[in-house]
Symmetry: D2
Amino acid sequence: MRIAMIGLGRMGANIARRLMRAGHELVVYDRNAEAVDGLAKEGAIAATGLEDVKAKLATPAVFWVMLPAGGPTESTITDIAALADAGDVVIDGGNTFYKDDIRRAKELDEKGIHYVDVGTSGGVWGLDRGYCMMIGGPDQVVRDRDPIFDALAPGIGTIERTPKRENFDSRAEKGYIHAGPAGAGHFVKMIHNGIEYGLMQAFAEGFDILKSKSSDKLPEDQRYDINLADVAEVWRRGSVISSWLLDLTAIALANNPTLSNFSGNVADSGEGQWTVEAAMEEAVPANVLTTALFARYRSRVEHTFADQVLSAMRFGFGGHVEIPQ
Amino acid sequence: MRIAMIGLGRMGANIARRLMRAGHELVVYDRNAEAVDGLAKEGAIAATGLEDVKAKLATPAVFWVMLPAGGPTESTITDIAALADAGDVVIDGGNTFYKDDIRRAKELDEKGIHYVDVGTSGGVWGLDRGYCMMIGGPDQVVRDRDPIFDALAPGIGTIERTPKRENFDSRAEKGYIHAGPAGAGHFVKMIHNGIEYGLMQAFAEGFDILKSKSSDKLPEDQRYDINLADVAEVWRRGSVISSWLLDLTAIALANNPTLSNFSGNVADSGEGQWTVEAAMEEAVPANVLTTALFARYRSRVEHTFADQVLSAMRFGFGGHVEIPQ
Amino acid sequence: MRIAMIGLGRMGANIARRLMRAGHELVVYDRNAEAVDGLAKEGAIAATGLEDVKAKLATPAVFWVMLPAGGPTESTITDIAALADAGDVVIDGGNTFYKDDIRRAKELDEKGIHYVDVGTSGGVWGLDRGYCMMIGGPDQVVRDRDPIFDALAPGIGTIERTPKRENFDSRAEKGYIHAGPAGAGHFVKMIHNGIEYGLMQAFAEGFDILKSKSSDKLPEDQRYDINLADVAEVWRRGSVISSWLLDLTAIALANNPTLSNFSGNVADSGEGQWTVEAAMEEAVPANVLTTALFARYRSRVEHTFADQVLSAMRFGFGGHVEIPQ
Amino acid sequence: MRIAMIGLGRMGANIARRLMRAGHELVVYDRNAEAVDGLAKEGAIAATGLEDVKAKLATPAVFWVMLPAGGPTESTITDIAALADAGDVVIDGGNTFYKDDIRRAKELDEKGIHYVDVGTSGGVWGLDRGYCMMIGGPDQVVRDRDPIFDALAPGIGTIERTPKRENFDSRAEKGYIHAGPAGAGHFVKMIHNGIEYGLMQAFAEGFDILKSKSSDKLPEDQRYDINLADVAEVWRRGSVISSWLLDLTAIALANNPTLSNFSGNVADSGEGQWTVEAAMEEAVPANVLTTALFARYRSRVEHTFADQVLSAMRFGFGGHVEIPQ
C-alpha cells in the first residue's frame, strides 16, 4: 500500500521505516529537507511539499500526519484538506485532543475527505517492538487500511493469550483496535497516558520510600540501606507489579543506582490534563491520575506560592519561624 | 486556686499569666532560671525544682506541665510521679500523642495520681483572646479544676450563640470541653490540628491559583493581575469562607503582598501525621487532611527521589530529556 | 439609583430587597409573575418583560441579571443586548464561567454596552448580613455603580480591622472589590468556591474521624464516644480553625447530633471543576481542592466501576473474594 | 534440603509443593489434620505438632511459618522458640509488619535462634510461575538456605535481561533478593504492595473514565461506547502500560465485560497502611499510594459521615437540599 508520512521526527521516521520493512511504499515529507533525504536513502519516495506528496500518491490518497499536536498539526491538515480529493484519507497519528478530532472530522467530511485519528504508544521502542494503536474513524475507512495498521502493530508474538478472546475483535490481540468514531482513538490513548502517569507515580513514590529508609532522619535502628536496582530487578520476576515501566526502572537503576543523572524536572504533555477534564465532565473521581499530574507540576518549581501562604499563616497564629531547608 | 506551671516557654508563660490575671496563684518552674525570675517579677511563686514545686503547692497538688511533647514531657511527668501523693493531679497541656496519655494515665492511676490531658489551641494570641481547650480525664477531677479552665478559656464573649445549645454542656460555649477519659482531650486537639492543615492548604492552593493567573505562561488575554490582599480582605466580609485563618492571611498580605518574607519551608508537628494514622485505624478516607500533610513534606525538599524516578522512566520509554527548571 | 433586577429567585429577590432597604428604586422582572407581584408589594416597580424593564429605567439603564448560569443567563443577556442602548450596563450577578464573561463583554462592547460580572457570596444569609462581592468590568463603569455595591455589601461592621489596610482599596473592607476587567469578578468568586470545597472537606473528614473513633471496629480500649456538637462549639471559641463554616456545622450538630437528617448526596456546582481547570492551565498543584471535588462525585454513587475493577484484579492475582459490605 | 512448613493454607501448601517438586523434603504441619494428610499423600512427611516437626527435622532445623500475620504467626513462633535449639532457623513467610520482625529477631537471637523474614509475591499463580521473594535476615543464614529460595523463585526464564546486571547480585534475576537485616524482606514486600495498590487504582480510574464516557449524563455527541475488553487487550501489546495487572484486567473483562460479577467492596490488608506510615516516618509525600488506600476504605461504605457533614453545611449556608441519589 502506498501512504504518505508527513512529519519525520523520531516517531514519524520510525513509523515510516517499520511500514517500509513490511513492504509498503512511503511518500515522505518534512520541512526539514535532511530528514526527507535520510528516509529517501532508506527507500522512501521523497516529496518536496504537500502538493508533491498528493501527486505521488495513488487514489484515494492516504496522508499520515505525524506532527506536534496543536498548531503544526492543525495547519498541515488544513493545507492537506485544500488539495485533497473526496475519498482521500487523512490520518492524524499525533497526540491530538480528541475534541479537535471530532471538529476536524466534521469539517473534512463536508468535502468528502475521511479523517482517522490514531493514538500511538510505543515510544522509541516502537520501531522494533511495534506500535500499540488506538484508532478512531469510519468503520470501512479503517478496515480498508488494515494492512497499514497490521504492519505497524506488534502482532500476537509470544505474549500469553487472554482466555475467551475468541468472542472479541481479533485486531486487539495483534496490537490495534478500532475504538469508535472520530476522536475515539485519541480518547483511548489519552486515558492510556493518564493511567501511565498514575502507574509511574506509584512506582516513583514506592522507590522514594525505599530509598528514604536509609535517611539519617530516622533512628539508626530503623534504617535499611536497600539496593534499589536489585529490588526493581526482583519485582520483574513473578511479582504482582511486574510491568514494562518496572523493566525501564530496572534498566535505569542498573545503569545508575542513585539516578543522579536525572534532576527530576518532569514535563507533562496534554493528555494527563485532558484525562482529568474528561473525568470531571463525567463526574468520575480520579484522585490517583490527578495527583500524579500535580506531582509533575510540583516537580518543576522550587517553592509554590501556596507554601509561602502556609508559612505566613503559621507565623500568624503561632509565631512559627520557617525551618531552614 | 493554687497551681504549678512547669515549663515557661511562650505557651507556659502566657498560660501562667492569664491564670494570674484571673486571681490564681502560680508556682512556676523551668530549667531556665531567667524564665522563672521573669514570671516571679510578675507575681508568680518561683520554685527551684520539682520538689520545691511540690512543697509550695496545697494538697492535692496540681501540676500543669507545658513542655515539648515526647522526651521532655515524659521524663518530667515521671519525676513528678515519683514525688506526688495520691490525689495529686498532673495536667499535660502540651501536644502529647493521645495513646501516650492513655498509657500514662494507667501508670499514674496505680499510685492514685490523677492525669488530665489538655489540648490547647490559641497560639500566641491566647493570652489575650483566651485558650480553646479540649480536656481528657476523670470527670470529677476535671470538674474540680473548673476555675482553672474557666479562667483560661475565652468565655462566651461577643460570638453569636448557636441555637439549641441549651441541650448541651455549657462549658463548650465558654471555650472548653471535657471530651472524655484520658487521651480524649489530646485526641480532639489532634483532629483540630489535622483539620487546620487541611484548611490552610485549601486557602494556600486557592491563593496560588489566583496569583498564578498573572503568569506569563498563560496567553496574555487570559491573565488577571489580582490584588491578593484585597481578595483576602473582601472574603472576610460576609463570604462563606470567612475564618480566622483568612484573617491571618489578610494580615500577612496587607503587610507584604508578595509574601516575599516567607520562603515556604513548612514544618509539621506530629498531629497531622497522627490524624492520618487515626483515620487509617478507623478506615476513614481522609484525602484532604493527608494531602495537606504531604504538601508540607514536599515543601521542604527541592526535588524528591520520586521525581527522579519519573524522569528516568520518561527517558526510558520516550527518550525524553528533562526540561530545564 | 434605579436598577433592574431580572430573575427573582431567592438570590435575586433578596438582593432586590436589600437594595430597596437602602433606598434604591428597583424595576423587577421574572418569568414567574407571582414573584414579580411579591416584590411589587414590597415596593418594587413591576415590569412585564424586558422591553418594559428598559422602558422603566433611566438612561443609562442598569440591568442586574440574576439567573442560573448557562442557558438562562446567556439568552436573557442576548435579549437585553438587542434592546439596550450604548452606555447601558448589564450586570451578571450569577455563577457564570469567567471565560463566558470575557466573550460576552467583547460582544456587548461592540454595541457600546458595558458588561459587569459580579461574583456574590452570602447565600441565604446575605439579605441580613450583606453580600460579599467580587466585581469585574471597566473601572469607571464599576465606580459609577458604587452606591449599588455599597448598599449590598456588609460594610465594615464590627469585624476587627486588618492592620496596614490604609495602603489598599477601602472597598475591600466594606465587602466588595473591583478585581479586574471582565471575568475577574467571577474568576475570584470561582476560586472562593474552590476554597470553600476544600475547607468543607477538611472539616468533614475531621468530624468523620472523630465520630468513627467510637466505632466497634476499634479495640474497645481505643474508642472514645465524643460529643461532636460540643466539639464544634468549643472550636468556635479561640481555636485556630474558627470560621463561619464551623459555625454552621455547630448549628447543624446542635440541631441533630447524628446528622441523620442528611443522607450525604453532595452536589457540586461548576465552580469546583472550573477551579481545577484553572489550576491545570496554570500548572499549579491543587490537590486539596481537587480531592474535595472528587469526594462529592463519589458521594453520589454507591459503587464506582473503578471499585469493581479493583475487585476483579484482586480475584485475578490472589483469588480474593469480595468482602461483604 | 529438609524443611518444615507450618501452615498449609493455599500459600503454605503451594510453597511446600513447589519445594517438593524441586526435590526438597518437606515436614508439614497444620492445625487442620486434613491439610496435613493431603500434603502427605503428595509426598510430604506429616507431623502431628510442633514437637513432632522438630523431631523430624535435621540439625539445624528450618521452620517455615506460613500463617496469617499477627496473632497466629506470633504465637506459633513463640512456641517454636520454646523447643528450638541454638542454630535453628525460623522463617516467617507471611505478611508480618517489619517492626515485628525486628523485635522477634532480637528475642530469638538471645537464644541463638536465627530469624529470617520472607516477603512473598505471586499469589495463586506462584506454584507454577514461581514466587518472587524479598528476604531479610543474617547474611550467612540466608545464603545457607539458597537451595530453598532458588527452588521457589521463578528463575531467569524467558524474561528479557536488564543490561548491566553483571554488576549486581545475580539472585535478583532469579527472583529473590536478600534485602537486608531482619525486617528488610517484609519492608520491601510492604512497599511492593503499596505500589500494587497505586497501580491498581490507576488502572481502575482509567477504565472508569473510559466506561463512563458512554454515560447519558454526557451530551449525546460526546459519548463513546468503548469496548473495554478490547482496550485492555490492545494495551497489553506494545503499550507503555503493559503489565501483569493489565493482563489480569484483560482476563476479567474478556470473561465479563461489565464486571457485573464484582460489586466493588474492596478489602485492604495491612501493607497499604504500613506503607503510608513508613512514608510519614520518612516525611516522603506518597499521595498516590495513600489515595489508593483511601479509595478502598471508601468502597466499603455507602456514605461517609463526612458526606453528611458536607450536606449539612450546604444546607446551612445555601439552603441547598440534597440531590436524590
